[in-house]
């Protein structure tokens, strides 16, 4: 019929010629359906067709490749398999553990809780010597995880840090750019603020919040406990001299291999990046990026950057909270006191600023 004005208009629109302009893209038709798609890779739910692969070697290789799988459960299963394999074949493990460790570390920031828990289990099974060489791999990721928004990732990171410090404490704190950056991460994770007025002038108004205000999502006491524990082990590893003096150690090792001289320089290095200190190829390092492989040096930096004051103050407030947290905080305080016992704070402070 087409009598109503609306209908007429509609009809007219049907017969209108679209105005075409040169150089402009042609207008899409009303019933246009986009058929474009994006694909990176095709994920098959069953990528393993046969599990009766005979050799352990091949199975490990396959499972390590599954670390990159899209499916959570597959990653988890792969980790579990590797853990079992390492446990069963402690002697004569057919694959380089260091390589597995490197691959596994990429899962530290994984989104699935199960995968991360399984990863922690695997990590505890790894021999400390193998870890030492590849220590740079997990350090960066753990630091990223410490301040993540997701609680689970934070929890795992602290766990992994505690484990790493337990097995390779000295190596961790003396790596390139670890000491200062980790302390800064801890500071921001605890929301400690530089209370000192001399430092507060730099911060110009940003540190006005009371330190009892916790950042969002971090006020879970379980995570907080973990965090305090991790801090304690970190400070312990960094500030307190373990074992004997290096000179004594050197003398001992020389005595052990008596007829030979400087044996350790001719063997494979036992630590990661033995020449990193020289910084042969990298850009010049700032105070943050520098490596501090001496306890005294670490102490000096700790005090000079004002971190000592901040931490001491922050821990004191935490201790005042009492309870479990307070008890843990008092442990940290003890470590601080022990580590900085012969440090004349005021004197060094003058030097620094």
């Amino acid at each position: 019929m087409g009598s109503s004005a609306k209908r007429k208009k509609e009809k007219k629109q049907d017969f209108q010629k679209p105005k075409l302009k040169v150089g402009k893209t042609k207008p899409k038709a009303a019933n246009f359906t986009s058929t474009s798609f994006k694909a990176k890779s095709i994920v098959l739910t069953q990528s393993t067709l046969s599990t009766t692969a005979p050799s352990l070697d091949a199975q490990i290789l396959h499972n390590v490749s599954l670390f990159k799988s899209k499916s959570d459960s597959q990653r988890k299963d792969a980790l579990a398999f590797i853990t079992n394999a390492i446990m069963e074949h402690r002697k004569g493990f057919p694959y380089q553990v260091g390589e597995i460790f490197k691959e596994a570390c990429k899962l530290l920031l994984d989104r699935s809780d199960g995968v991360r828990n399984e990863l922690l289990k695997l990590l505890t099974q790894l021999p400390a010597v193998e870890v030492t060489i590849h220590i740079a791999e997990p350090l960066l990721r753990i630091r990223a995880g410490m301040t993540s928004l997701a609680k689970g990732i934070r929890f795992t990171s602290y766990d992994a840090l505690i484990w790493l410090l337990k097995s390779n404490g000295e190596e961790v704190v003396s790596s390139v750019g670890t000491w200062v950056k980790y302390l800064q991460s801890f500071q921001s994770a605890f929301a400690f603020h530089a209370k000192d007025p001399a430092i507060a002038t730099n911060t110009s108004g940003w540190s006005t919040l009371p330190s009892s205000v916790q950042p969002i999502g971090s006020n879970d006491s379980k995570v907080l406990m973990k965090q305090i524990q991790a801090l304690e082990s970190f400070l312990r590893a960094g500030l307190i001299q373990t074992g004997e003096d290096s000179e004594v150690l050197a003398a001992q090792s020389a005595a052990r291999s008596f007829p030979l001289w400087h044996t350790e320089y001719h063997t494979m290095p036992t630590r990661s990046k033995p020449f990193a200190r020289l910084n042969l190829f990298g850009p010049p390092r700032s105070a943050e990026d520098e490596m501090y492989d001496d306890v005294d040096e670490r102490r000096r930096v700790f005090a000079e950057l004002g971190l000592y004051r901040t931490f001491a103050h922050g821990i004191k407030t935490l201790r005042k909270q009492g309870g479990e947290v307070g008890r843990a905080a008092s442990q940290v305080e003890k470590v601080l006191a022990e580590g900085m016992v012969d440090w004349d704070e005021d004197k060094e402070y003058e030097v620094a600023f």
């Binding site: 302009k21 928004l149 800064q184 940003w206």
Partner: protein
């Protein structure tokens, strides 16, 4: 068991947008959260930099999200996030080749974003992006970068012209072209400049300099880009301006007002109406705004002579030029050179001999060569440089044996050359060519006739007596028609000045008549001078008043000079523009009084004597007096009056003549194309019946008539298109069937008038024989 309620930020780490939103609202309270994320971002960057090529997907995704997050809130924490811009710049500069594409695009986008937040300035952004544009191998990245650079330059120039930035970028582009003329990277300079020219962001000499450098470079793509710019850049700019002006859909104010009267009145609708009114007003103002002075690129050229010479001797003249251009590209360069020569009246003698070898009918696209030749001709080209060319065209193209198209193209080309330089023709050749007037082929015949009519005006003595025509013969006899010698140029004048003079004289006589004085009395000199002075003072009085009603203050545009003067070529110096004498300085100079004294004599003898004297008298008015604003206004009025009068049938013929003359001396700015040369060839072949019909219908060749329709339908469509309504009858006929039922039921209740109408209708139909009638 109910689900535990989780806090907003506890849920997942995909909650960065949430945190971002909160930070935007209250940056102070969320500083710790930001610094946590900042630390995470820093560590992820470190992770990435450790092994840029083998990073895993997950960390790349989270890095991308974090970069996005930080770039959105970085302006809230300038101290914490101080290194952000440098991070991004380094990341892009050193790893653009192996960055994952999405992450790479995000980094580019973030840089643009923090530029918008004014964390970095445009110069930094452009100096980061531009080198990338040149080096990257990825096409998608190049597209993205080009678009970002362009939009950055547009926004930087949106409020007011950012001269500093423009200069910086222009220098960058210029250096790019100048530093390595052989590299193909110069194409980016060309693309960028052309785009900015098109959008009227750059319209200064510096941009033209860049293109000039491009045209003289040694890469064929760059050369073509530069040359095409000069040939088509201005047209493109005009089209873009037109498009943007008709792009914005027009608001029909009347319709809106009408609707507002009918539909429900709400605050929203009122606001809409107000907004529409504001839009219309703005658009109106924009339309009335003075047109920005856009000089064509060809006019902004500094040293066109040098440019034309370099172009010619670099790309065309040598046997083995540095850049091998194919024929099409060579033609482009040739077009530009000849355009420059014709427009600026340059002297480039070698150019004409260069043409010689191309002027054979077998040469591909010879019409383009002919067009270029005609374009390169102007009245200051020595005739002996052109004569061999004309001779060759005549020999090669125009003969009885040649095809009709060839002959007409040759004749047409000769005519186009001779329009510009009539002295290029000699008597024997012309008389020979004129014979083709009798050709059977229509195209050739028309072309030859064109030549005859041209020489009747510019050089009648070259024609045989019987070809000269009446007017030319009379003109020759009276001496009015003289051959112009080489280098002689026409003296200019002010159009309608004679009318003004005549008007003034009449006015003076009328006044004298009113006062009772004898109309023609030239004894009373003092009185006359006094009268004129008084008149002049009155004329100046009007100055301010007129000043006000023309919207002057907004109307002036400051045209900024770049500190470089436009070079005026030598040929221009020879004839000072006559209009300069007409300066209307607001304070009358002492010269004014002197001028009046000098003027006495010619205006005191009003009786028309010989034409020569009259010409002198006219020119005196402009040269001896400063025309007051009142004079100028009157002049304008008289001019329009005269033009209206000329529409009367008596003046028709004269007017036609003038129009023909105008067509003959086409505007110097317009290019001559191959179509102009080969146009008449269309006349040679007989049109088919279809073509004739199409021509009669006013359709272009190849166009189809839309559809077959009845006249009524066409009329109706036309009415509808005009926005008119239908008739009542039409409405009744189209009325919904269900709506008519009620009325049909009430047949018994019809009014007397209705009954009468029905009965009458019945009778009528009977008489006609049915509803439609039986008239066949």
């Amino acid at each position: 068991m109910g689900k535990r309620k989780v806090g907003a930020l506890e849920k997942v780490d995909a909650d960065l947008p949430n945190l971002q939103h909160k930070i935007r609202r209250d940056p102070l309270s969320y500083q710790d959260d930001f610094s946590n994320q900042w630390n995470q971002y820093r560590s992820l960057i470190d992770v990435y930099l450790q092994s840029p090529s083998t990073s895993d997907d997950a960390s790349i995704v989270s890095l991308r999200e974090l970069i996005d997050f930080v770039s959105h809130v970085a302006d809230c924490y300038p101290r914490v996030a101080s290194g952000f811009a440098d991070d991004l710049k380094n990341l892009l500069a050193s790893h653009h080749a192996d960055l994952e594409s999405e992450l790479r695009d995000k980094v580019v986008g973030s840089l643009v974003l923090i530029r918008k937040k004014e964390i970095i300035d445009s110069a930094t952004l452009l100096t980061t992006l531009f080198p990338l544009l040149l080096t990257t191998a990825s096409k998608s990245l190049r597209v993205l970068l080009f678009q970002k650079i362009l939009s950055e330059l547009r926004t930087a120039n949106s409020k007011s012209t950012n001269h500093r930035l423009n200069r910086q970028v222009q220098t960058l582009l210029y250096d790019l072209l100048a530093s390595d003329p052989t590299s193909p990277k110069g194409i980016w300079a060309v693309k960028l400049t052309r785009e900015l020219w098109k959008r009227q962001i750059w319209s200064d000499t510096k941009a033209v300099e860049i293109m000039k450098e491009a045209a003289l470079s040694q890469n064929e793509k760059v050369v073509c880009g530069g040359v095409r710019f000069f040939l088509g850049g201005d047209k493109e700019r005009e089209e873009a301006a037109e498009e943007s002006s008709d792009d914005d859909d027009t608001v029909d104010m009347a319709k809106l007002k009408h609707q507002a009267g009918i539909s429900k009145k709400t605050k929203k609708k009122a606001a809409d109406l107000k907004k529409a009114a504001a839009t219309v007003k703005r658009k109106e103002r924009k339309k009335k705004a003075p047109h920005p002075l856009n000089f064509s690129a060809l006019h902004l050229l500094n040293d066109p002579q040098g440019f034309a010479e370099k172009l010619f001797f670099q790309h065309l003249y040598p046997q083995h030029p540095k850049v091998r251009l194919n024929l099409e590209q060579k033609l482009l360069v040739l077009q530009l050179v000849s355009r420059l020569v014709g427009l600026h009246k340059l002297t480039l003698i070698q150019l004409y001999s260069y043409f010689l070898k191309f002027l054979t009918p077998r040469q591909p696209s010879v019409t383009s060569f002919l067009a270029s030749l005609a374009q390169a001709t102007h009245n200051l080209v020595p005739p002996d440089a052109l004569e061999p060319l004309v001779q060759k065209v005549a020999n090669e193209f125009v003969s009885e044996a040649a095809a009709a198209e060839v002959a007409s193209a040759g004749l047409n080309a000769i005519r186009e050359i001779c329009v510009r330089q009539p002295l290029a023709m000699n008597e024997t050749l012309l008389q020979d060519l004129v014979m083709y007037r009798k050709s059977k082929d229509k195209g050739t015949m028309m072309a030859a006739k064109g030549l005859v009519s041209l020489y009747r005006e510019v050089g009648a003595e070259l024609l045989k007596k019987r070809d000269r025509g009446k007017e030319a013969a009379l003109g020759l006899r009276s001496g009015a028609l003289k051959e112009r010698r080489f280098g002689e140029s026409e003296e200019g004048g002010i159009e309608g000045l004679d009318l003004l003079e005549k008007f003034k004289e009449e006015e003076r006589q009328r006044k004298r008549g009113e006062k009772g004085l004898p109309e023609d009395d030239d004894d009373d000199e003092a009185l006359r001078i006094a009268e004129e002075e008084q008149e002049e003072v009155e004329g100046w009085k009007n100055w301010d008043a007129e000043d006000d009603d023309s919207d002057d203050s907004g109307g002036w545009i400051n045209v900024e000079s770049d500190g470089e003067d436009i070079n005026i070529s030598d040929s221009d110096d020879e004839k000072p523009p006559p209009a300069k004498k007409l300066r209307t300085s607001p304070s009358p100079t002492p010269k004014n009084g002197e001028g009046n004294d000098e003027k006495k004599q010619p205006s005191a003898t009003p009786d028309p004597t010989t034409t020569a004297q009259r010409v002198v008298a006219i020119s005196k008015l402009a040269t001896t007096r400063i025309l007051t604003p009142a004079d100028l206004a009157k002049l304008n009025e008289l001019r329009t009056q005269a033009s209206i009068q000329s529409h009367l049938p008596a003046a028709r013929r004269k007017q036609l003549q003038v129009a023909a003359q105008a067509a003959a001396s086409r505007h110097a700015d317009d290019a001559i194309t191959a179509e102009t040369i080969s146009g008449l060839a269309a006349l040679s072949s007989k049109a088919t019946r279809e073509e004739k019909i199409a021509h009669a219908r006013g359709l272009k060749p190849g166009e189809q008539r839309e559809k077959h329709q009845s006249t009524t339908a066409m009329r109706k469509a036309k009415k509808e298109a005009e926005g008119k309504s239908t008739t009542n009858k039409e409405k009744a006929r189209k009325k919904n069937f269900l709506m008519t039922l009620g009325k049909a039921k009430r047949k018994g209740k019809r009014s007397l008038v209705e009954t009468r109408k029905v009965l009458r209708g019945h009778l009528e139909r009977q008489k006609r024989g049915g509803k439609r009638g039986n008239k066949g």
